[in-house]
């Protein structure tokens, strides 16, 4: 048996995703959490791992010996474009950057910094982008004459929930994205249909409002909100704060990538990858933890620069030896 060396992990940012990464680390004996880093006052944070320090992000500046991989749990809008390149110069880093249009420039920025520092920077890791992307790639490489479909849900969209919360009179909101089952089934049957936005997903909203708020007005504001809701069939339910807490405090999500392609004389093949997740941040955190192991191993082999899930051989994700995975999983 090889001796398992602990890989020392730092978590930057302690929201839902940071806690998800923390939970994942506890399930992996070869990973060790050595610190949580926050822009808030460190004293204000109580974390779920005994004996691990909470420190200010300022303490990351000089480069620390107790971090093999820094997992950056920030937002894609403003945090990650700044943080990931910055820390990639000093540490192996991973993020879950998901602003699709900006992936090329984010990749270039992280690549430059990571190569300069001799580190690995894995960007856009999680399940979409992440595991869903992998399935789009594998399927299209195997069946070049085909088409991929991605459906999301049933799951909570934080962005859409936040958009509802910004409406005057709204106290709290939870928005679920749901795939249209008939459309999913048409794809599964290999029909290669074309869909409008409305035909792929519906949106269901649970909303708590202030006493005396104009519900009809709020419902209309939600349903007609451009980009977020106007292009979808949207349902709005007004509920109490107690119901919100009781029935909607989880963050489930999931979805599927379905690829339909043909070979030979019209033989059809359907490849489907689907996720049903009780906790989106805990699953995403688990993906990040597995790729932290990969970042560490790759960097130990002398590899540096920006990487995505496409660039990393699957064996690097596993805590098991190559012999073990060949014997038991192949």
């Amino acid at each position: 048996m090889a001796i398992i060396m602990s890989i020392k992990i730092g978590i930057l940012g302690y929201g839902n995703l940071g806690r998800g990464v923390e939970a994942a680390i506890k399930q992996n004996p070869d990973l060790e959490l050595t610190g949580v880093y926050t822009r808030r006052s460190p004293d204000s944070l109580k974390i779920n791992t005994e004996g691990v320090a909470v420190r200010s992000t300022a303490e990351l500046e000089a480069g620390r010996d107790d971090i093999d991989v820094l997992i950056i749990c920030g937002g894609s809008a403003t945090d990650l474009p700044e943080m990931t390149p910055k820390y990639a110069a000093l540490y192996n880093v991973i993020d879950s950057f998901d602003t699709h249009a900006n992936i090329p420039s984010h990749f270039a920025n992280v690549d430059k910094a990571a190569k300069k520092g001799g580190k690995i920077g894995i960007i856009s890791c999680g399940w979409d982008p992440g595991m869903f992307s992998l399935n789009r790639l594998y399927a299209s490489a195997i069946l070049p004459e085909g088409k991929d479909y991605t459906f999301w849900g049933k799951g909570v969209s934080q962005g859409h929930s936040d958009a509802i919360r910004r409406i005057a009179g709204v106290v709290d909101a939870r928005q679920y994205t749901l795939p249209v089952e008939a459309s999913v089934n048409a794809v599964r049957e290999g029909k290669n249909p074309e869909f409008t936005t409305r035909e792929k997903h519906t949106r269901e909203c649970f909303v708590v409002v202030e006493d005396g708020a104009d519900k009809a007005k709020i419902e209309n504001e939600i349903k007609t909100m451009p980009n977020y809701f106007a292009d979808y069939d949207t349902t709005v339910h007004f509920i109490s704060a107690e119901e919100m807490k009781r029935d909607h405090s989880g963050l489930p999500h999931g979805g599927s990538v379905i690829y339909s392609g043909t070979t030979g004389e019209g033989n059809n093949h359907v490849i489907e990858y689907s996720l049903k997740l009780d906790s989106n941040p805990e699953f995403t955190g688990s993906v990040l933890a597995a790729y932290a192991r990969a970042a560490y191993k790759l960097n130990n082999e002398g590899v540096s620069g920006a990487k995505t899930v496409f660039d990393i051989a699957p064996a690097y994700l596993s805590a098991k030896s190559d012999e073990e995975i060949r014997s038991h999983l192949l």
Copy 2:
């Protein structure tokens, strides 16, 4: 735009799988079939690609310049253990070796030969082993506290069909393996059940017999055949040769890998990868073609030795550039 250089492919063995690889090559403009190699008399073979030579395997002996990757489409029982190491010394090779217990020794033999020749030898490629293996690995690396289940079917098992054909009085046979839907659903619900062999799959047989054959005796011989049928609920249908030809000449297959794991305080996650294939050999051939591209690229980078799907970064499978896949598939 990068200039697409053709990767020159040889196919060794021209049965169902060889023809499946041939069909796949036609869909990939960067792959070019330069020869089909056979142990039969080359004159006896008529292939589906105009202008491509059929040659004797003897012509492979000296090492040919017109093969970048040799795809070996032989049987796992006796062909591949001998062929893959032999040709790995001379060519980049790929096989679909699927005798699970012998993977470690096959890997070692191919590794030794391939390293000596400075070539790549990818073994056990296809969908199981292959794409299913990848999904077992990714899922277990992400969710270490969980369990994987593999279900096969509905699909034709060639080995079981052959076993029936060996019974006296049987003219032809086709055996379908079917997953037990209730068991699949129990796994999907995250119940982590334990199954007996009988609880996971059933077997359905379509059999053509000689005139005057004792059907009751044949049915009993099938149902009690050790290893193949005795541990399963098996159904036998006697049909005419015409019905066999009309209804059972395809080679569909498929199945699913379902992984159920937990994180945090009992949050459950279900990952499901499923295939529904009209033609098992054409899909398997398409996987081999994509990995042929990977073998070529890796060897061009100076990599040699035995590899499996676990060792190969997904980007190597694609004909598209890294920039393109990051922009469109991530």
